[in-house]
């Protein structure tokens, strides 16, 4: 059996690796750890058994500073996220063996579409799980408040997006009541931080109308956290309607999908809330105009009716007076007919005996005193002779 110095063994291993991998190759792996030192990116790559997560393989890799300064921005702009631990990656590597440092994979390229494909698959699985558990649409089915004023906001207090959000709401002058629950809004620790803030909102003594999740905006950042199952499940089951304004430019995330309402930016959320108030204000103005018109129309109608009634009353009064006048005319005629003075005017006279009208001469006897009335004056006489 051959006896070798360690250096010889390592040199032979180095040669064997070089001979085996004369060309670079593409390798699929998960980034288990990542560390950037002096511009060089050091990675620990692993492969796990899909069902059990048991470790099947592990290797160290490095992206030298000169390459990383190009690959880092390329990955960020293409995949919309930072290269980080937890991602499934497809790397172009040259396996190298160094006598002093051992085995290492030198990364020369990365395929972001592989990572995106993996994430998309994860997203689908998460959505399926939420649907299977019956919570996917729970938050969307909550009744949305007509006038949400008391707002619980989960955001980073120093984020530009949060400032934009508060500035827009203040400019609307609708008197919103805001309370901020600070949280990390991006990166791998964001889901846990946001969930903690959501629990604080739920436990707050003051009731809120809405929960709003808004992120800072600015540079393209890693928003993979908004596809996290735990965060999505908490949003879906939150007792208040949730609005997200995460500020992403690409596809929506699962957090957006489960929230009652998803808008692109914090400013859009503020404008939406102010818009609800404006709509309500407009609606009230419309209602007051309708009320005014209705009252005006009703009063006009009533006035018209009254005018008609007044005319009817006038007619009735005239008719009544006419009737009474007619009756008086008849009475007057009857009085005039029975007025004996009319006959006296014509030369006739009236003769009274003992206060009674004398109509028949046989009612008198000689010597009776009679009183005769003429048109003008009267005289008394004594009956001397009677003719029958």
């Amino acid at each position: 059996m051959e006896r070798l110095d360690l250096i010889d063994l390592q040199k032979r291993l180095e040669q064997a690796v070089n001979d085996a991998f004369k060309e670079p190759c593409w390798v699929r792996a998960e980034i288990n750890r990542m560390d950037v030192r002096n511009g060089h990116c050091h990675l620990e790559l692993v492969q796990k058994e899909p069902q059990t997560d048991r470790l099947l393989a592990k290797a160290q890799a490095v992206i030298w500073a000169g390459v990383f300064s190009m690959l880092g921005p390329f990955f960020r702009t293409t995949a919309g996220m930072e290269l980080r631990a937890g991602l499934q990656v497809l790397l172009c590597v040259e396996p190298r063996f160094h006598a002093l440092y051992g085995m290492s994979l030198v990364v020369s390229d990365i395929d972001p579409s592989y990572t995106l494909g993996g994430l998309e698959m994860e997203r689908r699985k998460t959505l399926e799980r939420l649907e299977k558990e019956g919570i996917l649409n729970m938050n969307r089915e909550l009744p949305f408040p007509r006038l949400p004023r008391r707002l619980a906001v989960i955001s980073s207090p120093t984020a530009a997006g949060y400032q934009d959000f508060t500035n827009h709401l203040e400019a609307s002058s609708f008197g919103f009541i805001l309370r901020l629950f600070p949280a990390l809004m991006q990166g791998s620790e964001a889901p846990e931080s946001i969930i903690k803030a959501m629990e604080q909102v739920a436990d707050a003594s003051v009731p809120f109308d809405l929960l709003i999740l808004i992120r800072g905006g600015g540079a393209v950042a890693d928003l993979h956290c908004y596809d996290n199952y735990d965060l999505a499940a908490h949003i879906a089951q939150f007792p208040l309607p949730v609005i997200t304004g995460i500020g992403h430019q690409r596809d929506t995330h699962i957090a957006d999908r489960v929230a009652a309402l998803s808008l692109k930016t914090p400013t859009a959320v503020a404008d939406f809330l102010a818009g609800l108030m404006e709509q309500e204000e407009d609606s009230l103005i419309q209602l007051s105009h309708r009320l005014e018109r209705a009252v005006h129309n009703r009063i006009s109608r009533e006035k018209q009716d009254l005018l008609h009634m007044i005319k009817d009353i006038k007619g009735a009064v005239r008719w009544l007076i006419q009737q009474h006048t007619h009756t008086l005319d008849i009475l007057e005629e009857r009085i005039r007919k029975n007025n004996p003075l009319t006959l006296l005017e014509k030369g006739y006279s009236l003769t009274l005996c003992a206060g009674r009208t004398v109509r028949d001469a046989s009612a008198l006897k000689a010597g009776d005193k009679v009183h005769t009335v003429l048109r003008k004056g009267a005289f008394d006489a004594t009956v001397e002779n009677i003719e029958q």
Binding site: L306, I310, I313, V317, H324, E332, R334, N338, V373
Partner: protein, 68 residues
């Protein structure tokens, strides 16, 4: 008609009806006829004035309501 203001239209009409009926009786007391006729004609005049006043007041009130 000395106390015109104290007499209502209905009272005047009632009195008038009685007077006319009595004047129409064949055995009406002629000694009172002249006075009754005079009273009846006064009542007719009173009733006419009353009706005229009622119509004028009513129309005045209704006209002022119409203008409002």
């Amino acid at each position: 008609m000395k106390k015109k203001t104290e007499l209502s239209y209905e009272q005047a009409r009632e009195e008038l009806d009685i007077l006319v009926s009595s004047l129409e009786q064949p055995d009406a007391d002629l000694g009172m006829i002249s006075a009754k006729v005079k009273r009846a004609l006064e009542l007719v005049s009173y009733c006419r004035d009353y009706l005229h006043q009622v119509q004028e007041d009513a129309e005045k009130t209704l006209d002022s309501n119409e203008k409002e």
